[in-house]
Amino acid sequence: MPDPSPVSRGFHRKHPAATQAERLPPGQYETRDFPVLSAGPTPRSPLAKWDFTLRGVDGRAARWTWAALQALPRAPRTTDIHCVTKWSKFDTHWDGVSIDTLLAEGAKQGVTSAPFVMAVCDGGYTTNVPLADLVDGKAMVAFIYEGEPLDPEHGGPARLLVPHLYFWKSAKWVRELRFMERDQPGFWESVGYHIYGDPWREQRYTGDP
């Protein structure tokens, strides 16, 4: 049994409880801003040279140019997002192409799926996500935020959006989804952050249950 938390003398709630407190995972607070968190400089890829790749374990790949990606069916979505640094933001609006659509298109080109996925990004960032967390409408490649093209600071031209996991899994500047037979840590996962990252179980760091 964990010991009960010690009371911090003189500390008390300063703000009224969030009106929708049940939407806040443990340890999170609501923000109206959209903070930026990245490990390095913001990469900038000209759209003319941008493409998106879905790559099977056997190396077979499907590739979309920017224009080809834009031509796929869209799946707009309104969702809450939760950053491991403690802020949550409610009712964010996104538009893009669902991973289901990309998988179906990829399958037509001979790309077979595998149980785990590594998202690979401009700037060298990577993050791992189980395939099950990307399908059935749970995730998309997003390029519109609040009706506008996604800013580079927030991952534009396109980022992965997996909002039911901590937001570092929603990889900015995503360029490729690479299938893996076995789970492997990505960038933050290999420097102390949780391999899966469920905000509702407060899986922030390595070893959190």
């Binding site: 490990a39 390095g40 840590p185 290999s190």
Partner: protein, 256 residues
């Protein structure tokens, strides 16, 4: 297919510990350092942070992250906290809190924005406001290790009396030919101030930093607009993006 097992991925659980406040140091009118005794503290690397959890008598809890200010070699763990206008946690830590009080803490957290003397240099540190905190841990570590790694700090503050660790920075640079500290004050610099009086720009980075040919390791920490601007300029100046590490927070970021 092989599965590489990386050191960080097998680390032990980062568990909550009780920290006791050994003392507080008011650094500037809005910034306070907390000196903490944390039994069982596993040690940290310069640049890492901790999560702080406060519990009220009625059971209400709040969590925030704060950078570690002390060097790994220092006897006490030090956090430096900036009081934010609406900050529920920071206003408590910078106000009510006094020696003998307790709260929970876990860490260290973050294995990327870190520097140790074994990482070499030359080192270029760029801070905006309280973004100096993790960089100060690096400077204190460098000093504790008697390192001669050539190091330049460019530190932007709004006002001269808001410069955190002002005297210590002066002392560190005074005794150490390998360390150059450059200040820029963006508002109301005193007449006698001999430094820059504007926001950090490309010319300032060229003068106060290193040529790209020296391939410095660069750490930038501060509010998002400053970090974005500086990181972009560094890349434009020809620095390898892989050697430019950033940590962002502040006014446009979360409320704490």
């Amino acid at each position: 297919m092989t599965t590489p097992v990386l050191a960080g991925a097998v680390a032990a659980r980062v568990r909550w510990r009780t920290a006791t406040v050994a003392g507080v140091v008011d650094e500037t009118p809005g910034v306070r350092t907390l000196l903490l005794d944390v039994p069982g503290w596993p040690g940290h690397r310069a640049g890492q942070h901790v999560d702080v959890r406060l519990t009220a008598e009625d059971g209400y809890r709040a969590e925030r992250s704060y950078s570690i200010a002390s060097a790994p070699e220092d006897p006490q763990l030090a956090l430096t906290v900036e009081r934010l206008e609406e900050g529920e946690v920071s206003s408590y830590l910078c106000g009510e809190l006094r020696a003998g009080d307790v709260f929970e803490l876990r860490g260290p957290i973050g294995g990327y924005f870190v520097w140790g003397v074994q990482d070499g240099g030359p080192l270029f540190l760029v801070a905006g406001g309280s973004g100096i905190v993790p960089l100060m841990s690096m400077l204190r570590h460098r000093s504790a290790m008697h390192s001669t790694i050539p190091t330049r700090l460019l530190y932007s503050s709004r006002r001269w009396d808001e410069v955190i660790y002002r005297d210590e920075l002066l002392r560190l640079a005074d005794k150490d030919p390998g360390l150059v500290v450059t200040h820029t004050i963006t508002r109301d610099a005193p007449a006698e101030f001999r430094g820059y009086r504007r926001r950090i720009d490309r010319a300032m980075l060229e003068e106060a930093g290193w040529p790209s040919g020296d391939a410095p390791l660069t750490y930038i920490c501060g509010p998002t607009p400053l970090v974005e601007a500086v990181a972009n300029e560094m890349v434009a100046l020809g620095h390898d993006p892989a050697r430019v590490k950033t940590e962002r927070f502040g006014p446009t970021g979360p409320v704490e």
